[in-house]
Symmetry: none
Subunit: 218 residues, 2 copies
């Protein structure tokens, strides 16, 4: 049985691996709001249990075993969020903190029954996909940024043919493939998109949005 703390670390690792290739000790510490020394201690423990590949000073990554545990926590989190919004009438912005607690409840049967009760939803109220009990996540679709509406999210996968120069522009703006994009606002006047990437607000013209490819989940 894994502790709540171990589960939090594995979940953090999973989320950080989406954004960065090698996950550094400091980035985990930032993410979990803890000191790097505490992180090092836990990484040793998780490596001992074969949940992560860890080499001193070299960063870390989840093993298959570790990833499955992370996905099972994410599954629980997103199912509980769905429950809180769909059944208990919470707003989608209120549920995260409560789900952070509920995700650690230990019972296979509970989560399967909850899943059925909710009608086996594929996405949570934030639009994030819910892993199935084998840790599989529905493959996402590719879309242009211009097809997204406010508050929707995607991951940058590339640019349309013949627009290689766009990549240079993105590079200059420190935007990389794999970066996560969230639409904050779309200006009605000229179709300009205001988006958030890596915690920074950026403004994209309509032309850019017509050429930027994203992976989304619907």
């Amino acid at each position: 049985m894994n502790s709540q703390s171990e589960e939090d670390y594995l979940k953090a690792l999973y989320h950080l691996e989406m954004d960065f290739d090698a996950v550094s000790t400091n980035s985990i510490a930032d993410y979990l709001d803890m000191k790097p020394s505490s992180v090092t201690d836990m990484l040793k423990k998780l490596a001992e249990k074969k949940f992560i590949n860890y080499e001193k000073y070299k960063g870390t990554s989840l093993t298959k075993k570790g990833r499955l545990i992370a996905l099972s926590i994410i599954r629980k989190h997103r199912l509980w969020e769905t429950f809180l919004v769909e059944k208990l009438g919470f707003g989608w912005d209120q549920v995260h903190i409560i789900a952070e607690q509920l995700e650690h409840i230990k019972s296979e049967e509970l989560i399967e029954n909850l899943d059925n009760f909710l009608g086996n939803p594929k996405y949570d109220p934030h639009g994030d996909p819910i892993p199935n009990k084998d840790g599989e996540i529905e493959k996402m679709n590719q879309k242009l940024l211009v097809e997204l509406k406010a508050s929707q999210k995607g991951i940058i996968t590339g640019v349309k043919k013949g627009t290689a120069s766009l990549l240079n522009y993105l590079d200059k703006e420190k935007v990389k493939l794999g970066d996560s994009v969230k639409v904050i606002e779309i200006l009605e006047f000229d179709g300009t998109y205001i988006v958030e990437i890596n915690k920074r607000k950026l403004t994209f013209s309509e032309k850019i949005c017509q050429n930027l490819l994203l992976e989304t989940n619907d």
Copy 2:
């Protein structure tokens, strides 16, 4: 904010106070399956926080403040049990362990929304009363079926402690908590009760009648 462990102690105190007047250190240790020395440590801490009245070697009792916390945990426990049985299809006997985890989730709003979602139930699936948010427990006119005379009525609220197997029997007979019971006839010879439940006539042995709890209106 109280720790899970503190909450477990307060809940134990509450249950033990029902059965015994003075709650001894050893009885708490037995109840929680811990060593008496650990209990002493925690009692000091709880006394410090004014949750209990504690005098060395003299036993302990809940303060008003402590009792309210205990009741709020019991409220959560029983609401979650109701949810698990009514909504997720768990059996009566499976829900206790899961509810022991769920009862420690911190969120006032969660429990109020859950209460409403469940239709503000007054009794949990075991027939135990659910305290309201002010810690008040509806005084029950709880009787055993065997105390009723012919033509009297009641609502099934549960079974006596230690007779969980009776629940299975009732289940098999399609009798649920909340069902209304009317005594049709009591056989003088062996005390067998003939009752009507859901428009069906059923026969209960005297032993069953001695263990079946009902809510009556007198």
